[in-house]
Point group: D2
Chain length 381, copies 4
């Protein structure tokens, strides 16, 4: 019924800056690793919400011309993760609607587990959905709520919602950030000049020279407008439950999420691995790029030299045309190629932090074994 999980999205919002859309573009730029399928920005000039969104990468979508079509002092943006299934333009966030209280835009990182049930109920009362995203139920719950203010309606709406959400909402005159009671997904608050910023990770603050203030706390709702930041905790308390994949793989190593630096955590993971499973070897190599910190930690702890035994090709595109005549362990080779000189004749420890089913790992191991077994560069005549 709904799109697959898209827990790995990035959200960014700013209130109180004359270049709000441009800052949001920069924020999405630095959060690009959280979603490469599509991106969008909605800005407000106090009277009207403006929207630009499209399939593709932030740097390709947002031209100067497009940024200029996003006037105003506040904006929110969203990077969507590439899922199979409904990769269609109606599912690009932020979702922007007009309803009884005016305009409203929503950017969501998380997963609403009872969305199917809520949708069926809402439709029975006449709601018409525009997308196949679970996030849209939040919008309709707000529109159907009989309470008076946007603030009350949002709280009313989210009380029906189960699941994870780091959520940004933008109306004509306020920016609202909410983190689910478990705090499953990250959300941080920053400040640049007089403007406030909300973002999935601190790397987005760094790029725009914003200072990091603090995390939005689990179950917290912040309302940012001309009067500053108002915090409240309108939801029932719940057990904190952070997603471990943020540390392992999702977040950028230079970010702080859940109050800790990702690079340091990853390096410590490597050290711990060395303590738990020490092996005699000549060299420790990472599967680049994400495996580098853990491999460095392992190498330091184990006292074995670190080397960059595999080179990653950063120009890899979305699609890839394989020749009809098969080539050995192809999928891996497009991205990764061993440095034979650095591996030949050596016992190699390889550290990978993004093993999903292990099929790729097998190919990587085979590739490394071949390189380690190779004579200098093999010559044929």
């Amino acid at each position: 019924m709904f799109d697959k999980f898209h827990e790995e999205c990035g959200v960014f919002g700013v209130y109180g800056h004359p270049d709000a859309a441009n800052l949001t573009y920069l924020g999405l730029y630095s959060l690009q690793h959280r979603g490469q399928e599509s991106a969008g920005i909605v800005s407000t000039d106090g009277k009207k919400l403006h929207c630009q969104k499209e399939m593709g990468l932030v740097a390709d979508i947002f031209t100067e011309d497009r940024i200029n079509k996003l006037p105003g002092h506040a904006a929110i943006g969203h990077n969507r993760y590439s899922t199979t299934g409904d990769s269609i333009s109606i599912n690009i966030q932020p979702l922007l609607v007009n309803f009884a209280l005016g305009g409203l835009a929503l950017a969501h990182n998380g997963n609403i587990v009872n969305a199917g049930l809520l949708k069926a109920e809402l439709e029975a009362y006449g709601s018409i959905f525009q997308s196949t995203m679970d996030s849209e139920v939040v919008i309709h719950l707000i529109a159907q709520s009989r309470l008076a203010t946007l603030h009350e309606r949002i709280v009313d709406a989210l009380q029906h919602v189960q699941g994870s959400y780091s959520l940004l909402l933008l109306s004509e005159d306020q920016l609202i950030g909410i983190r689910d009671p478990h705090g499953f997904r990250p959300l941080v608050l920053g400040k640049v000049g007089e403007a406030y910023v909300l973002a999935s990770e601190t790397c987005a603050l760094d790029l725009i020279d914003a200072d990091y203030i603090r995390e939005i706390e689990p179950g917290e709702m912040v309302v940012i407008n001309g009067k500053g930041v108002a915090s409240s905790f309108p939801f029932k308390k719940a057990e904190p439950s952070h997603c471990v994949f943020e540390f392992i793989y999702f977040a950028r190593p230079d970010s702080v999420v859940f109050g800790q630096n990702v690079y340091s955590i990853r390096k410590e993971f490597g050290r711990q691995l060395a303590r738990e499973s020490k092996v005699a070897a000549d060299v420790v190599i990472p599967v680049p790029d994400s495996g580098v910190p853990a491999a460095l930690g392992y190498a330091e702890e184990a006292g074995i030299p670190f080397d960059l035994g595999i080179i990653r090709n950063h120009y890899v595109g979305r699609t890839f045309i394989e020749p009809r005549q098969n080539i050995r362990h192809f999928g891996v080779k497009v991205k990764l190629n061993p440095v034979k000189d650095a591996l030949k004749g050596k016992r190699v420890i390889v550290v990978d932090d993004s093993i999903v089913r292990g099929t790729t790992s097998k190919k990587i191991i085979k590739m490394i074994r071949n390189a380690a077994a190779s004579e200098v560069q093999k010559r044929v005549s």
Copy 2:
């Protein structure tokens, strides 16, 4: 008169394979680092040359549909480096022409220094140039030559040419590779099954599981057709003169160029730097990605821990929209962000292998100093 130097281009050719265009596409894919402005492939089915070329990256240009429009058993391809100036579609290589002896395609890595003079002469005899590339003089010299065979005409033509060239030529029935007498640019010969391959670097051989045979030697001309590979040295001998930037910056670390592995050379550069200018420090960090091997070499030689103190954003696009309100040392921050936890309170040695004018270096140094001087993550309230 001509386009700027485009010495950093990549060339790839294959003869004798049913998937020639697809292999060439893969070869260009792995040589993408040598040129990102445009790419093209010309294939031959024995009767006719077929061409597909465009501005952009290999992965974006070549769809399955386009590969299917490149039938035949032999092909050459070219990656063009982004120069300012004449970045126009008529300058995309391979150059493909029809002349008295049939079709002829050319892919050139190098720089012809007397191209202006040759062009003026050729035009005086009625030649009409189609592009503003120096490479086109080679084509017209071949067309104007009064000798009988393509082979003779090529030798005749190149005897007038001064400068550097690793050159691939494709006619309906043969693939020709030539390296200038100085051997300024690299060119290697490989074999995949029964097919022969010519490429700028060995990383292109690795991707398609081709075996590395040897370098094409300075001043050598190889003619590859149904009878195999015929080698000759038709030009006057010259002093060997390899371009040092191939080792420092152009080539991929997993490649072998000029007979040596690039990664090992770069690491040795780092070691040598440590020997020449040793400094007391707490950590050695690279400017990623290209600075990693030299930084590792330096760290090993100096006995100082290596760390990844700067993270590179690999999603950076071609254009970038800066906010009107300036942000400190912006240009660098889009690509690079320090890991404050890894730098704070430390004396840092930073290794960069691609300093051009040093303006970027100043910004990087300032960024690192700020991070080293930072308290934990700075908090504001």
Copy 3:
């Protein structure tokens, strides 16, 4: 609040034909004169509705590939008239939504006068509008209705609607056609093989070799499904009130609308004009193309020769770039040029059936006067 009147749109629907989308494409093709801004088709394969729509002309929008993405035995289509204002893609019809009863598509020719009021009410109950079209209120009224069947809900919805509508609705399993109680806009029923067709004008029937059965009557609702055509008159009777512009200008001369052939009516208008205001003249000319029938009628009645004194350029595009240095009465000349030989020295009666404010007419008159006053082709040396 809503888009400008778009009374001149064209609608077409077919039920019971294996090539339903292709027939609809042909129908829109022949109704292109009723709207050139955008076009769309929604088809049903019995389980799911499929939609293709875009800005532009039918012949440009619908490729074979797109038609193939519209499977099924029933379809509706819409040509939208170019209005200033909200010419945006969300306003392209057919409108397609999913709601509690399943999928529903709507194509509307007409103008709902109380749409603003209805929209405000619907939003108060939580409806979220997707477009700025008055037509969308019909969809939401249907979704909000508490009645059980689609048929009942449509009748319920339209009882709140005031204004003009020739309306086609398509669900997964039925095609519904409705004409407002006044019958302001045309709608005809035809048959091709075993399939039934609904269209704004009979010229759409002619193109697909469909037989003309009859007009849908004012206030009539026809439901077409596997059981055939079921007619009902669920609305209160009203005074018939046909839009006279259909005869004068909107409809194609080869069509039958409101039971009469447009060409014959226009010719009769010309005859009547000759009776009412006879003038002595040497020649009667039309402003082509629409003025031809009336001019022929005038000429016949008045006994004055008819001639084609003005030639129309049919390649005129949407935009037009005028030179900075002005040219006399330019706007007209792009489309129309006099045949000086046919006019020189003559007293000319010119018949125009599409005068709006008369500014264009003044330019045409001046152009004709100049041509009539011209010597042979003026020569300069």
Copy 4:
């Protein structure tokens, strides 16, 4: 070897006007009927030639932005007729080259019959062709000529050329117009303000308010530059031989070609037909649009009423998707539909001026017979 005949192209040139490219755009606009496949303009600012060309219609290709990229006081343009075969972008005219004497652009209406022979000779001397157009031999003959000035080289070149040509050439500082010794294709000279204009037909002069001066005569060469118009007759005299299809079908009825108004000639053709083959009938109808003048002439001469018995759909696109289930005489119906009311029960004379193989005519006749035999609009229940 070469492209099919493209005798129906349109050419336009202007010298001495600050809006030269804009006037050329207007000229091509009004000559669009002579070629709809592609169009291009080359302008000169005295120092450099500027080019914009593409597949498609003039109104679609030339945006304000593109016109602004064509600065200067002189320009030539070309409309290319849609041929099957080599409809590729390299064949769009004007051809623009740089050669020993500078830049040169060429726009050609006609057909060079010995182009194959000339091309083989030119290639033997080292020429490299860029297109598959016969017109390109003229450019290479000019480049290969050993004479000193452009003017001399053009005469030298054309002395080798056999066939038809109305030719415009533009260098940095002059506009040259040439008509072949037989005068097979039309070319007229006009004046707008102080600027001179060359065009295929006078309708292009009318649109820009230029005065018609005279035809360029068969075998005449006019050189237009800052000194005015210099005429010469450098070629051997030949029998005049005008292409009759210009009168019958190619040219616009409001144009003067070969010194005569096309509309009047066509009407006279109709009168002559009536004299030669008189038939008793109730009505004379044209196959629109081109058949109207001849039908009017026939009707006048025969004393039979003229009527518009067939309506043409002017929105017909290039491609057309037919339903799998055949529809009777389809190809014709997309464009033409009978007005049954005007034909029923009548004996009909139909005048068509563009019969090629007669297959379309058979379908039209059948369509008219059906309409004439029809009762009022046929009703089915």
